[in-house]
């Protein structure tokens, strides 16, 4: 029986083996030997970060040509090269990426209810969206840390994940694990292309800044002594920080929560501090640019919008060429802002930094004369950016304003910046209350004229920056308030000698909420003047767009303010591939707005060249987020705001064009950065939170 059993089993086994042996010959599937070789070279983490099922899946995809040799996110460059060697390909370099946590809340954020469920963010999120009072911030239960296959995430003591940039491979597991989108994986290009989203951790200053600079981040970096890091943070959004550090009217500071304790944080003085530090360090920080795409882009107008657009396109790997009608780049920043506010040498240094990235510039080349949109397209420029600014001074609508001795504010400043030494005579009247009017008045003071600034409302209604108004007063500009020009009186040679004006009084508030000035009848008075400078507004000069000078038709739609019409999200004009931003699109606005819109236009141009269409998100932040705006905050220790020092005084100040305002010292900057409340959407550092941070906590 044993023999029978043994024989039976042996023969069945033999039969099965024979069948399998034959079958393996017949049914042999030729597997590419390279799959095995490549799999041996891959790290074997099976993390799925590449999007294929495990390393063998990735290896098969590489062999099939569905994935590049560098598909593995865990492997280092050497592995990619080895894999590429097996495939006989060239390695396409992948932009380095990192996981980034965008939430400042953590344990600072209050709980709305006591949560006792599973210690998992996804589970917590399902219960009324989590217990935190902030609808977007980190829930702090550490699901991301557990999801990380590389142990790159640790939960910090303040309830926020800390990402180790050395260990992070940007596999994106944490992004999938986080139910609230607190963690994102991004590289430089994605960072430059990102627009503020309502779901981001946006402190009020960050919402307000037209350029969307990550203000809390750079203040944190200054606090930590990482000044270079702060410069790089700003340069991710604003290439003209030396300029903005001097001339920005700081919309961000109007939203600073610190103002409900004492005074706003001096955000711009901190920007100027780090910007000047780089400026005077004698070397430049290296600005990384993405891999060359070989695409040519034309930028018409080298003002802040054009420079910003060119800078971001260059960093995204494209090749912009700036065309400018003036002898030097900078636009209104160069020709509209006087030397004493922004030294030209500093501006030159800053613009050179942008050009050194590989941006080409052709100056003294006038749009509409030397080239047109058609010739640019014929020259191989794939997209075109129009940022020609607003250079035409508005008239006073007063009789005699075309007499000699009347010169628009922007014309006057441009002539002066070009070194043409405009004749000012002994007495000058500047009409207007904006920054251009003040700049013109303070320039005239420095040229030795007795200067009167005429404005139809009172000082409180002046749109100019307060520092500028105070500066003008200090320098001896005479303010003639509540007065509006009636007509310009000239002599027999057609030269203006007097300005006749009405006295005004404030009446009912108008649509803009300001009390509108009303003429006092019979109050006409004459005032002698050698030069009258109306500086009451500017508008774009669109003559260059018209096909046959002024009379021809304009290929672009324009508004009654002479601005170009474009899509408000993509900045694309009616002509496909032609984009716009800056004053020519918005009408006269801030430098920082032009820079911000220049970046947004660059983003659209990048997407339209690389992907064909521009993605528009519904959650893009456009207005201030209502629930983040407070009228009061918890009691805080009061800390005094730093004061910007003046570099020159007395005669030096009113007789030369030396720079007036200086930068704060390092100690002042550090003290100022300590005043920042590190706001998130709704959380901020109260005294106790700041203290807790001080004692034994190790964020960052």
């Amino acid at each position: 029986m044993i023999v029978t059993s043994g024989l039976t089993l042996f023969s069945i086994g033999l039969g099965a083996a024979a069948i399998l042996g034959v079958a393996s010959k017949l049914l042999y599937v030729k597997e590419d030997p390279r799959i095995g070789l490549i799999e041996d070279n891959l790290p074997g983490a099976n993390c799925g970060g590449c999007g294929f099922p495990g390393c063998s899946g990735a290896a098969a995809a590489i062999v099939l040509g569905k994935a590049p040799a560098s598909v593995c996110i865990v492997a280092d460059a050497e592995t990619s090269i080895r894999v590429a060697g097996i495939m006989g390909q060239e390695v396409i370099e992948r932009e380095p990426e990192l996981a980034i946590r965008d939430c400042a809340g953590g344990s600072r954020a209050a709980d709305t209810f006591h949560y006792e469920g599973a210690l998992d963010c996804r589970a917590a999120h399902q219960l009324y969206g989590g217990s935190k009072s902030c609808p977007e911030g980190c829930l702090g239960l550490g699901t991301c840390a557990r999801s990380c296959p590389f142990d790159a995430i640790q939960m910090g003591l303040d309830g926020l994940p800390i990402i180790d940039p050395e260990a992070c491979k940007a596999c994106g597991n944490c992004v999938d694990a986080c139910p609230r989108g607190v963690i994102g994986v991004s590289g430089m290009s994605a960072r430059l292309l990102h627009l503020n989203q309502n779901t981001d951790c946006l402190a009020p200053c960050r919402q307000k800044c037209p350029a969307q600079i990550n203000i809390p981040k750079y203040i944190e970096q200054i606090k930590a002594g990482d000044y270079d890091g702060a410069v790089m943070t700003i340069k991710d959004r604003n290439p003209l920080l030396v300029t903005c550090g001097r001339v920005c009217p700081r919309p961000c500071e109007t939203e600073c929560r610190r103002q409900f304790v004492d005074e706003t944080v001096g955000i711009n003085m901190l920007k100027r501090f780090v910007a000047d530090r780089e400026l005077h360090s004698g070397s430049r920080l290296t600005i990384p640019c993405a891999k060359d795409t070989g695409r040519k882009v034309a930028i018409i107008g080298g003002g802040p919008a054009g420079l910003s657009c060119a800078y971001f396109l260059r960093r995204l790997g494209h090749h912009p060429t700036i065309f400018d009608a003036m002898p030097k780049l900078g636009g209104q920043v160069r020709y509209g802002i006087p030397e004493y506010r922004l030294p030209k040498a500093d501006l030159d240094w800053e613009i050179k930094g942008i050009l050194d990235l590989g941006v080409k510039a052709r100056v003294n080349t006038k749009f509409g004369v030397d080239f047109t949109i058609e010739t640019l397209k014929a020259d191989g420029f794939e997209t075109i950016f129009i940022g020609i600014g607003a250079w035409q001074a508005s008239g006073m609508y007063a009789e005699g304003e075309d007499l000699d001795g009347v010169m628009g504010g922007i014309e006057f400043l441009t002539a002066h910046a070009l070194g043409q030494r405009p004749e000012v005579g002994k007495k000058v009247i500047v009409v207007g209350g904006g920054n251009t009017a003040i700049d013109a008045a303070r320039t005239c003071v420095r040229l030795g004229a007795e200067t009167t600034l005429m404005y139809r409302r009172t000082k409180a209604e002046m749109p100019a920056d307060l520092e500028e108004i105070i500066g003008a007063e200090d320098e001896g500009v005479i303010f003639k308030l509540l007065a509006a020009p009636a007509r310009v009186v000239g002599d027999e040679n057609g030269r203006a000698t007097h300005l006749e004006y009405y006295e005004m009084e404030l009446g009912e508030p108008d649509a803009s909420g300001r009390r509108s000035p009303v003429k006092k009848e019979g109050s006409e008075t004459m005032m002698a003047a050698d030069l009258i400078i109306p500086a009451i507004g500017q508008k774009p000069d669109l003559a260059c767009l018209y096909e046959d000078g002024d009379e021809g038709s304009c290929p672009l739609e324009t508004t009654r303010w002479q601005t170009i019409v474009a899509d408000e999200n993509t900045f694309e004009t009616a002509i496909p591939g032609v984009f716009t931003a800056g004053d020519v699109y918005t009408g006269p606005d801030l430098v920082i707005s032009a820079i911000g819109d220049g970046r947004k236009a660059a983003r659209s141009m990048h997407y339209s060249m690389m992907h064909g269409d521009v993605p528009i998100s519904e959650t893009t932040q456009k207005t201030m987020i209502p629930y983040t705006l407070f009228k009061e905050i918890d009691a805080m220790e009061r800390k005094e705001r730093a004061v910007m020092p003046h570099l020159c005084h007395g005669d030096e100040r009113v007789c030369t064009f030396n720079e007036v305002e200086g930068a704060v010292s390092e100690n002042q900057a550090l003290a100022e950065s300590e005043r920042c409340l590190r706001c998130g959407l709704i959380c901020y550092d109260t005294d106790s939170a700041a203290e807790a941070r001080h004692f034994g906590n190790t964020t960052k």
Binding site: T8, G13, A16, L20, G117
Partner: protein
């Protein structure tokens, strides 16, 4: 016809291969962590169980019975099923790549699956005909699949719940399997 229907329902629910007969517990616990995997595994079991039951029926009827080797049934079935699974894997890889892609990685796991073995043995014990054998194997495989997918659904939810550390993972899986088994006993009254 009614006979077949009763057999079908009976195999699927009343005498569920895993919840009532406690066969195939290792894959039942091992592959029930995610419902996607559970569906794949369940599909593979249905497929192999039908093939194995049919082949073993032929072996029993044409080899073991004529040569009076019934006492070698278990050994021979193991041998046959193992070879069969290997053969099926090769066959699918060559001939039906899409099916191989969805079932491929589970096939080697089933080589030693006692549920498949059990189904084949039950068919012989009950002395079913070939048609009934195939039917029974298919229904039992489906029953395994249902139990597996249900447990996977439960365990997916459990994964994010707060549990004592000692109970996390397999222990709570076993408890759940036990409770499911109790629940399935309710089907006993059906036939």
């Amino acid at each position: 016809m009614q006979e077949f229907f009763v057999l079908f329902i009976g195999a699927m629910f009343v005498n569920n291969i895993v919840l009532a007969q406690y066969l195939g517990n290792c894959p039942f616990i091992g592959t029930s962590k995610e419902s996607g995997v559970a569906v794949g595994m369940g599909g593979a079991v249905v497929f192999v169980a039908v093939m194995a039951a049919a082949i073993t029926w032929l072996v029993q009827r044409h080899v073991l019975v004529p040569f009076e080797l019934g006492y070698l049934q278990t050994l021979v079935f193991i041998l046959v099923i193992a070879s069969l699974v290997q053969f099926v894997e090769m066959f699918l890889k060559k001939m039906v790549p899409p099916l191989y892609k969805s079932l491929g990685i589970f096939l080697p796991l089933i080589t030693t699956n006692c549920a498949v073995m059990g189904i084949a043995l039950i068919c012989q014990r009950e002395e079913f005909g070939l048609m009934k054998t195939v039917m029974f194997a298919f229904a039992s495989g489906l029953g395994f699949m249902i139990a597996l997918v249900l447990l996977a659904g439960i365990r997916e939810r459990l994964a994010v719940r707060r549990l004592p550390i000692a109970m996390r993972g397999t222990p709570i899986g076993l408890v759940m399997a036990g409770l499911m088994s109790l629940a399935f006993f309710a089907f006993k009254g059906m036939i």
